[in-house]
Amino acid sequence: MSDNEVAVTKDAAAAVDAAALAALHAPVPETIADGGPELVQLLTPEGERLDHPEYSAYIDDLTDDDLRGFYRDQVLIRRVDAEATALQRQGELGIWASLLGQEAAQIGSGRALRPQDYAFPTYREHGVAWVRGVDPLNLLGLFRGVNHGGWDPNENNFHLYTIVIGAQTLHATGYAMGIQHDHAVGTGDPERDAAVIAYFGDGATAQGDVNESFVYAASSNAPVVFFCQNNQWAISQPVERQSRIPIYQRARGFGFPGVRVDGNDVLAVYAVTKAALNAARSGQGPTLIEAYTYRMGAHTTSDDPTKYRISAEVEVWKLRDPIARLKAYLTASGKADPAFFEDVEGEADVLAVRVREGCLAMADPAAVSMFDHIYVEEHPLIEAERAGFAAYSASFEGGH
């Protein structure tokens, strides 16, 4: 090879490098309209069934009852959500974090879990709580301010809500490491093998804890599925603030697979989550799922999204509604008739009344109960303060 040829080759390599670098440094589009070519989708926004070479197989065993159940779950939790928002507006809840628009991501992933699996939620996983059997009224306690959650996580293998962003992903990873230590991975026994699912949002991907959980899960090959609901907004910050590449692609850098799924397509979410959970239970380690969805409402009832995002974006996502598309599919395929949809609406009405009445009936806890459950074993300072508080409170009785 002559010097000239070497120079030409070097130039060509440099040109390729420059192009690759330029691509890497290209500005991130303001919004990625459709989730990109790698989006796994089994149901279009119009309700058409698509085939996917890898994931179609995971919904083959779903019965029509299951499909109607996915619909029912979504409608019911949306109604709970709407009722909770109304209760907050009426002063019955301090705050509410709405899941509006994310029903398919939560129901699809939650329904892919087996009873022995364990879920670690953020504070917005009302749909996952629902499918795990946590009563919606239990969720309301935290938002009403009568407790900090308070349900027994082991009753439904559904951990308490975690408000500090991303912290639960490490807990999920550690829990999965415990499952490994218990030899409850890769035995082939479907009743024994277990996995963990860690929920978090696009904003959380910036947190150290989340990145550390990826490292730990990869290092120990823990049976954990990282389920990121990319709802495009972390309060006022678009997902582009947190990541220059699609979130699912980050998994590669940590050494495990990542997949982007249409988060508003309950069938695709179910299939992708089931595949990832199967892999985890069988000993193949973690997967990152990016459920590409949209936060239709405010971050919480304290937030005002009109200050930072345009309504046209919300309108685009309305056309991708997770419930409407499943209804269209069930109707067109003859898997559900109008009577079914009416029944679900009726059931939602009843549930909404139960949630409202249950919320209004939720009494404030006795003040002295704030000294309960701080420690397992007796603590002298707590006991002294409890006694002091009781005496002080009693001093007001009989007129002050």
Partner: protein, 326 residues
């Protein structure tokens, strides 16, 4: 004179700092278009640009850690922590890095940064949104810690904190953000130094020391006590590190009694340090033990119980009565 809320006063102070020093930058979550969840930075990004009012990714350790880097490069970063309970992911950066950089470099490095934290309860929030964590930071050598209680102080203290060449933890009383007060936005200089305590209400019989959101409760308590013939001197500490022991000791030597009130649990809270220091300095003047009125030694309770947890006017008066009973 203008009438501003505490939130607007801090906003005005930040604006003045951004105008007067091109090295001042603000960093935090949702501080740009949204103006922060409490709207304290409202309009600043629009007027000073995204390079100076920086919306960060959602990672508190990252905010503080990169602010350190900005400071090392010659900037004066102001960090906004969204809620008191969200400062803990940045705890390592603050305690191990911010606080110690000066000493580790044998004085060659300075970190003129301000970490703003909305503090305390009383807003009916869910957990992690009502913490009083000042003692952690006041306990950490290398950090200065201040707490404003009214709009005038908010306006001046934020500017003084930014001008300070040491790192300052700047506590903002979140349940008082919307309370109004008079101040002169155009004055040339602050009415008093940053690390000085002030006598918020003079009195004779007992000294009542507080800071941040509890100052108003104590002023109200003093008014109520006056109706019963008890003259209470209220001190707004303003600075928690350093503590202005001169103002405290002078007052206690006059009254002979001291009650310290804060929202944080009393166990190892600011009141514990103040009680110990005052006992050492004013032992022969004290007519009673130093009384602490504070939160209980429990995690901040669910919001429906916070009124029982937070020291209110009655609890402060009870503390005053206990001091006067000796």
């Amino acid at each position: 004179m203008s009438k501003l809320t505490i939130a607007r006063a801090i906003n005005a102070g930040l604006r003045r700092a951004l105008e007067s020093d091109s090295k001042v930058v603000i960093m935090g979550e949702d501080i740009g278009k949204l103006g922060g969840v409490f709207r304290v930075t409202e309009g600043l990004q629009k007027d000073f640009g995204e390079d100076r009012v920086i919306d960060t990714p959602l990672a508190e350790s990252g905010i503080v850690g990169t602010a350190i880097g900005m400071a090392l490069r010659g900037y004066r970063p102001i960090v906004e922590i969204q809620f008191d309970g969200f400062v803990y992911p940045a705890f390592d950066q603050i305690v191990c890095q911010v606080a110690k950089m000066r000493a580790r470099s044998l004085g060659k490095v300075r970190l003129p940064m301000v970490i703003r934290i909305p503090v305390g309860g009383g807003i009916g929030a869910v957990e992690h949104h009502s913490e009083s964590n000042e003692a952690y930071f006041a306990h950490t050598a290398g950090l200065r810690v201040v707490a404003c209680s009214n709009p005038e102080d908010a306006y001046w203290m934020i500017q003084q904190a930014i001008a300070c060449d040491d790192p300052v933890i700047f506590y903002e009383p979140k349940r008082r953000y919307h309370e109004k007060g008079e101040l002169d936005l155009l004055a040339d200089a602050a009415p008093r130094a940053l690390f000085e305590a002030t006598i918020a209400r003079p009195g004779e019989h007992v000294t009542l020391a507080a800071y941040g959101p509890m100052v108003k409760v104590c002023l109200d308590a003093a008014t109520a006590a006056a109706e019963e013939g008890k003259s209470v001197e209220v001190i707004d500490l303003r600075s928690l590190s350093p503590l202005d022991m001169d103002v405290l000791a002078t007052s206690v030597e006059k009254t002979g009694r001291l009650v310290v009130a804060h929202e944080a649990p009393t166990f190892l809270g600011m009141g514990a340090e103040i009680a110990a220091s005052v006992s050492e300095k004013c032992f022969y003047h004290l007519e009673s033990p130093v009384i602490r009125v504070g939160g209980y030694n429990i995690p901040y309770p669910p919001s429906r119980l916070e009124e029982e947890f937070l020291p209110d006017l009655d609890r402060v008066l009870d503390g005053v009565d206990r001091a006067l009973a000796y």
